[in-house]
């Protein structure tokens, strides 16, 4: 070894030792400091429900990252809508979405609802009315209070006649109430949310029945003037067969707020608005499906700088959708409000119901209105999701009671403990004094693994599952193996008659190479497994990779320096019988240096 003459032959082991101890203590302190003293536990250990959904599509290209992310956002919303807190939705692999609902949260329906395919339809609005307790029936003879509608789209502004609307009707359009359909679609300025007052600023506020645009919506929002529900039943004609259903629908009742979009898409139906942020719901009578959500090829939120109209959503249809949309808008544009609106229905809930001002050929449209950025992006997501040619199959739904999870964790920990004790015993019996070094090394390794896992739980959401625990236990063996490789090397040198200090130094480069090569193989295995695998395998691979990496750190920064230090101690260097390095016991011949390399070719070539 080419060590500079100025340093001791065996280097400065104290420095490396100090470094790793500082790192270890630092990590442990960080763990306690940030209060993340326990690794986050996976569903199988903590209890809860874990749903794995696998994307399916006729078009393999459709299963891509951005589509999956949109799907995750949608599913996230669905889960939250079920009132499940702390649920976690994430992609796994390239075509799975995992929904974890912790703590045995027995949301039986969760599994059913979460994975259902989002269905997005454009249906003409026949009539709508507020529904639910808080809903003081708004007045809304629409013509009377027509708001200056939303900002028309750039191109539309020329032609737009400003959609008058049943504006003040508190629309449920909740989060993303589309307020205007540009390119001749105008907002149904319906949303009573404060932003709905924006029409005041609308450049083309040429509402036919222009009442004070600013005033009207805000009034509607705050105090819908009393009128009975039937009056609020907006003018559209509800077909007779739907009348009863529409009248009976009470959207404030959970059970009734479900998906009525039955298989027969050619029939009219009813729906509730999907959100109740304003404290009430709207119910809708809707015509047959005109455009299917999957006919949207693209939707994106953009900002309309030209007309300073703020955020809007641009829509692009495919051929099929373009034709249908042109026809529909052509028809709708001739209607009187509210029948000039169409509803965007996602999963049975009306997400938005913009107004149509004119027929829109060409397959592209803009929904404009007084969107906030979030609202616009939310709506774009919804529209995109309907455009995703993805459906999801439930691959694996696991419900684990907290008790079983606790049992499994306990068993894993006990197994780990027993494994550790066995390994410690074995190294003590076999390596005696050196065994102490391997125990110390295992402990450092364990402290590092534990603190890193805990911190990763808080940092990147790493959750310890049962296979990961197995991986950690198996890693005890890997870590101890590295010690053995080094110890055996040292003993080989001692057998050849080398005094301990040189033996430790001479053994190191060889042991190091073996350890690095074999750890690299282990790490490669873990990395490949992590990258291609799904489900439980990933947790296992992650732990295995982590501990293999730590193994290298521990052996370089801890074991090697520690042994170097110990080799300077009389106990070890004199080969005390309990040191595990007793030359006699190892069968080394008394140091007759001249014959150290006694073992003919193998030993000789080793030196080559």
């Amino acid at each position: 070894m080419a060590t500079p003459k100025s340093r001791p032959r065996d280097g400065y082991p104290g420095r490396a030792l100090a470094l790793i101890l500082v790192v270890t203590v630092g990590l442990v302190a960080l763990m306690f400091g940030t209060g993340n003293t326990k690794p986050r536990l996976g569903i199988d250990l903590a209890g809860g429900t874990s749903i794995t959904l696998t994307a399916e599509s006729d078009d393999p290209k459709a299963i891509n990252k951005s589509n999956m992310n949109i799907a995750v956002a949608i599913i996230q919303k669905r889960v939250n809508a079920m009132g499940v807190s702390e649920a976690e939705v994430q992609t796994e692999g390239d075509k799975n979405i995992v929904v974890n609902i912790p703590k045995g949260g027995d949301k039986e329906s969760a599994a059913d609802q979460v994975g259902t395919t989002a269905k997005l339809f454009f249906r003409p609005v026949l009539a709508y009315a507020p529904s639910g307790v808080q809903a003081q029936a708004p007045t809304a003879s629409p013509s009377a209070s027509a708001s200056g509608s939303a900002a028309p789209a750039p191109t539309a502004s020329a032609t737009a006649t400003g959609g008058s609307t049943a504006a003040p009707t508190p629309s449920a359009s909740g989060t993303k109430a589309g307020r205007a359909l540009g390119e001749a679609l105008t907002a149904d300025a319906a949303s009573p949310s404060p932003t709905a007052t924006a029409p005041a600023a609308s450049p083309a506020a040429s509402a036919p029945a222009a009442s004070a645009p600013a005033a009207a919506p805000s009034a509607a929002a705050t105090a819908p003037s009393a009128a009975d529900l039937s009056a609020a039943l907006t003018q559209g004609t509800v077909p007779a067969d739907l009348q009863a259903q529409f009248a009976a629908l009470d959207c404030s009742v959970d059970a009734q707020r479900k998906d009525y979009q039955t298989a027969d898409l050619t029939k009219p139906t009813v729906a509730c608005s999907s959100d109740k942020e304003q404290g009430y719901y709207n119910k809708f009578a809707l015509g047959p499906v005109q455009v299917n959500g999957s006919d949207i090829s693209k939707a994106q939120a953009t900002i309309d700088t030209q007309n300073a109209a703020g955020w809007q959503v641009q829509l692009q249809f495919n051929d099929n959708g373009s034709k249908a949309f042109a026809t529909t808008t052509g028809q709708l544009a001739t209607q009187a409000p509210p029948a000039n609106q169409f509803a965007v229905v996602l999963d049975g809930g009306v997400v938005s119901h913009p107004q149509v001002r004119e027929s829109i050929p060409g397959g592209s449209a803009v929904i404009s209105g007084s969107f906030t950025q979030d609202e616009a992006q939310g709506l774009a997501n919804v529209l995109n999701f309907g455009a995703l040619p993805l459906s999801f199959a439930q691959s694996d739904v696991v419900t684990v009671s907290p008790q079983l999870g606790g049992d499994q964790l306990k068993a894993g920990l006990i197994a780990g403990l027993i494994g550790m004790i066995l390994v410690i015993l074995y190294s003590l019996v076999y390596y005696r004094g050196l065994g102490l070094v391997s125990i110390a090394g295992l402990l450092v390794s364990a402290a590092l693994t534990y603190s890193i896992m805990s911190l990763l739980g808080a940092g990147i959401g790493f959750a310890l599952n049962l296979p990961a625990v197995c991986g950690a236990i198996v890693a005890i063996g890997i870590t101890a193996d590295s010690f053995i490789v080094y110890f055996e090397r040292i003993r080989d040198e001692v057998r050849e008659g080398a005094p301990l200090r040189p033996a430790v130094q001479r053994a190191w480069p060889r042991a190091r190479r073996t350890i690095l090569v074999s750890d690299f193989v282990s790490f490669l295995c873990a990395a490949v497994l992590y990258l291609v695998s799904v489900g439980k395998v990933q947790g296992f691979a992650f732990t295995l990779g982590l501990t293999t990496a730590l193994d290298v750190v521990v052996i370089f920064l801890f074991t090697k320096p520690l042994i170097t230090l110990l080799a300077r101690k009389k106990f070890f260097s004199d080969g005390h019988p309990w040191s595990g390095l007793d030359p006699k016991r190892l069968g080394a011949r008394p140091p007759i240096r001249g014959t150290r390399r006694r073992n003919s070719a193998p030993a000789a070539t080793k030196e080559a």
Binding site: V400, S518, V537
Partner: protein, 370 residues
């Protein structure tokens, strides 16, 4: 222990030597038989867990609940379809229902809860879509192939292609044996098992790499001498690392054995058990294969090299001449001649055990070797 560590010493010095490489035919035939049996087992088919077929599994814990009670309850709920009901070792009852039962898992679960008067929340369930297992297997296979390609490339660079080939063969050998045992014994293959199989990949190679590393070192500059053939040098290296291999294998197996014991003993069937069982079989096979399959195969491949052939020839020539000299000396009948013959034997010693008495007699003599 001390005797064992002494064995380590004698192995290292070559006083005791097991001729692993020389007996390759024996190992090959043993492995061949095992692999053949494994292949037959595989042909018979693996016993795939429900994860690979789709269906649902419910685990109920209730004191005093017997399998037949549970069976009755399930039959009531599912209206007579055949569900697989087993009791696990820890007092739980596990009910498997195939995906052919067209009843929503929720309703089965609540039905069971009612029949058995257990709170719904305490029934653990797992519902698996039929394509899930396919996906897992597909991914596992993909991982296997990618890993094999990468590791072969890596070993070909770090060592040489022959070692890569030998390691790969040993790896496939281990996998086959492990899967074969599963097929023959009829253990259930679950995703946990698949994890175990995949881990064997890394571990089997870990072992092989440790051995190859020493073999590589031992055979460096081998062509410059004429005392040892490649096989002999490889075998010597193998013997030197034998203790190390045994130790690393034992140490690796101890935690896995603990897992197996706890997983099986305390929890009954489950992920812990699945992973550790596969690992245990695989690790044991891995230790065997790196010694008895990988290294002999490597030696065989190396002996095909022209320079190694030449070396073997030189060694043979040298031995022949030495034997002749020894014979002549013996013919003279002088005791020195015996000594002499003994003295020169180290050259072939590795291949010839039973020389230990001679060795020990020579021991302590400061001269005599080169």
């Amino acid at each position: 222990m001390s005797r064992f560590s002494n064995l380590g010493h004698r192995l290292y010095q070559g006083e005791v030597s097991f001729d692993f490489v020389g007996r390759r035919k024996l190992w090959y035939s043993i492995s061949g038989v095992i692999v053949l049996v494994a292949a037959i087992g595989l042909a018979m088919g693996l016993h795939l867990g429900i994860e690979f077929k789709g269906g649902s599994v419910y685990t109920v814990q209730k004191s005093g609940l017997t399998v037949s009670q549970a069976q009755t309850a399930v039959n009531d709920v599912t209206h007579g379809t055949t569900a697989l009901v087993q009791s696990t070792d820890n007092g739980k009852v596990r009910i498997q229902i195939s995906s052919e039962v067209e009843q929503s898992p929720d309703s089965i679960r609540s039905g069971l809860a009612k029949e058995l008067s257990v709170p719904v929340a305490e029934i653990d369930s797992q519902v698996i879509g039929p394509s899930w297992g396919e996906q897992i297997s597909h991914k596992a296979l993909l991982g296997l192939v990618i890993f094999m390609v990468l590791v072969t490339v890596y070993m070909a660079i770090a060592f040489e292609w022959r070692m890569a080939v030998a390691a790969l063969v040993a790896l496939i050998h281990d996998l086959l044996i492990t899967i074969g045992v599963y097929a023959l014994v009829g253990f259930e293959v679950t995703p946990g098992t698949v994890i175990g199989f995949l881990t064997i990949l890394g571990y089997s190679l870990y072992d092989t790499v440790v051995v190859f590393d020493t073999v590589k070192e031992n055979t460096k500059g081998l062509t410059k001498q004429s005392k040892l053939t490649y096989s002999e040098a490889a075998n010597a290296g193998l013997n030197q690392t034998l203790v190390r291999s045994i130790n690393t294998t034992v140490v690796a197996l101890l935690p896995v054995a603990a897992l197996l014991f706890i997983g099986g003993g305390l929890l009954g069937a489950g992920t812990l058990n699945d992973i550790s069982l596969a690992l245990f079989i695989g690790l044991a096979a891995g230790a065997y294969s790196s010694i008895c399959v990988a290294t002999p195969l490597l030696a065989q491949l190396k002996e095909e090299q022209p320079e190694m052939k030449a070396l073997a020839k030189r060694v043979a020539q040298r031995r022949a001449s030495e034997a002749k000299a020894a014979a002549e000396a013996a013919g003279e009948g002088t005791p020195e001649g015996e000594e002499f013959a003994d003295e020169d034997l180290p050259a072939g010693m590795v291949g010839q055990r039973g020389q230990a008495p001679g060795r020990s007699r020579a021991k302590g003599r400061p001269t005599g070797k080169r």
